[in-house]
């Protein structure tokens, strides 16, 4: 390791109480282990310094030598090497990490969860099957909810710091386990078992999930337009493209219209379209970040509209 690399590493550790050497950034992690540690730090401390080792090969090799630790991520707190992903996760679960970081471990209340009778039946059957395959060990339903609100449902054993929720449904009681971060994200979760396009499947609905850009197909959009011709359908393309083809009832999203839309009630449904659905996704995300929570992107854009709804709108 050359001197300037060493100085860079030492400087980062000296000047910041919490430093995470990771792959990518907390918002765009490039490796699952890095994402896990960043997610834990996001929860426990407001601000921390990150160093993206992928943007500098010298740092990437240097930090391994510096810490005598062969893997990334690596966490430093107050100048001390704490460890990699496994150690950080273990310390988080035991509450030790809170102490190291000087934050209080908030007690986690068991979340309120509702379970439909069809879901209770399906889970009961899955447990019975697990039991028949491995009669010796204990089996529980586990729900995992990651920072992006991706939900996982599995059968597993119990971990020491798990949060248990007992769900009584008509006689039989079912225990659902959450790790602590998942439990924090689970208040009001409902678990259902419904007929989907590819057979029956579990459906988890979580009221804590932040609003996302929803996708709408052109046929459903047509129905909405028929029902309400004044709905906000915003065309994010250029005037040139609009001259070639446009959907009746849409508005060009120019500066003026943007100001108008930003002034609308935040619950107003907004529909965005472009040529194929990519540019409009970005526009939709922009309005989502301004507090609108009924934001739709028209999948396939005006091209899909021409093919599936109105062949009189020319394709280009």
């Amino acid at each position: 390791m050359d001197d300037s690399t060493r100085e860079q590493i030492e400087g980062a550790i000296r000047n910041n109480p919490v430093v995470l050497f990771m792959k990518g950034t907390p918002r765009a992690p490039r490796c699952g282990f890095s994402a896990t540690v960043a997610g834990i730090l996001d929860e426990l401390v407001g601000e921390y310094k990150t160093v993206d080792v992928l943007s500098d090969g010298k740092i990437r090799d240097g930090i391994k030598e510096f810490s005598d630790w062969p893997t990334i991520p690596q966490l430093y707190v107050k100048g001390e090497f704490v460890g990699g992903c496994d150690i950080v996760r273990e310390m988080y679960e035991s509450g030790e990490l809170h102490e190291t970081l000087g934050v209080r471990a908030e007690p986690v209340a068991p979340p309120r969860v509702s379970l439909s009778s069809s879901a209770a039946r399906a889970l009961g059957e899955a447990l019975a099957e697990a039991k028949s395959q491995e009669p010796g060990s204990e089996h529980y339903i586990r729900v995992e909810i990651d920072g992006d609100f991706q939900h996982g449902l599995s059968i597993s054993g119990k971990q020491p710091r798990d949060i248990e929720v007992a769900l009584g449904t008509g006689g039989a009681s079912l225990v659902v386990l959450f790790d602590r971060s998942s439990a924090r994200r689970a208040e009001g979760l409902s678990i259902d078992y419904v007929q989907g396009p590819e057979g029956p499947a579990f459906k988890l609905e979580n009221p804590n999930e932040p609003p996302r850009v929803k996708s709408i197909d052109v046929r459903s959009l047509k129905e909405k337009l028929v029902a309400d011709s004044s709905l906000e359908l915003l065309d994010v393309r250029s005037q040139k493209e609009r001259d070639l083809a446009q959907i009746a009832g849409s508005k060009l999203l120019d500066r003026e219209v943007q100001q108008y839309v930003l002034g609308l009630d935040k619950s107003t449904p907004l529909y965005f379209h472009c040529h194929h659905g990519q540019r409009s996704q970005q526009a939709a995300a922009f309005f989502l970040s301004h507090g609108f929570h009924n934001v739709y992107n028209v999948a396939g854009g005006i091209d899909a509209w021409s093919i599936e709804v109105d062949p009189n709108v020319p394709r280009y």
């Binding site: 005598d68 062969p70 893997t71 090497f81 704490v82 460890g83 496994d86 150690i87 273990e90």
Partner: protein, 85 residues
């Protein structure tokens, strides 16, 4: 080298550095392994120190871009008589 050969190499490397250790290696996706080691050498040492002992033992298997061991998904280190977390 196939995944089970690499698992064997991991076991051998750890057993050589930490005589008497019980080593369990399980396979993840290609190049990914989970390792559980129970060893007397860990007694009284911090978690970082315990994991360093294991990482040092398998360092030759993790070096370079085409290393047989691409990532250790999970590494647990315990002393005999203590139940694993």
């Amino acid at each position: 080298m196939g995944s089970s050969d690499i698992a064997g190499a991991i076991r051998d490397a750890i057993s050589q550095s930490l005589p008497g250790a019980q080593v369990q290696v399980s396979l993840g996706s290609p190049g990914h392994f989970s390792i559980a080691v129970v060893a007397e050498d860990f007694r009284g040492k911090s978690r970082v120190a315990c994991q360093r002992l294991v990482y040092r033992a398998i360092a030759p298997l993790m070096q370079g871009d085409r290393a047989p061991v691409h990532a250790v998904d999970q590494l647990t280190t315990t002393t005999p008589g203590v139940s694993a977390p």
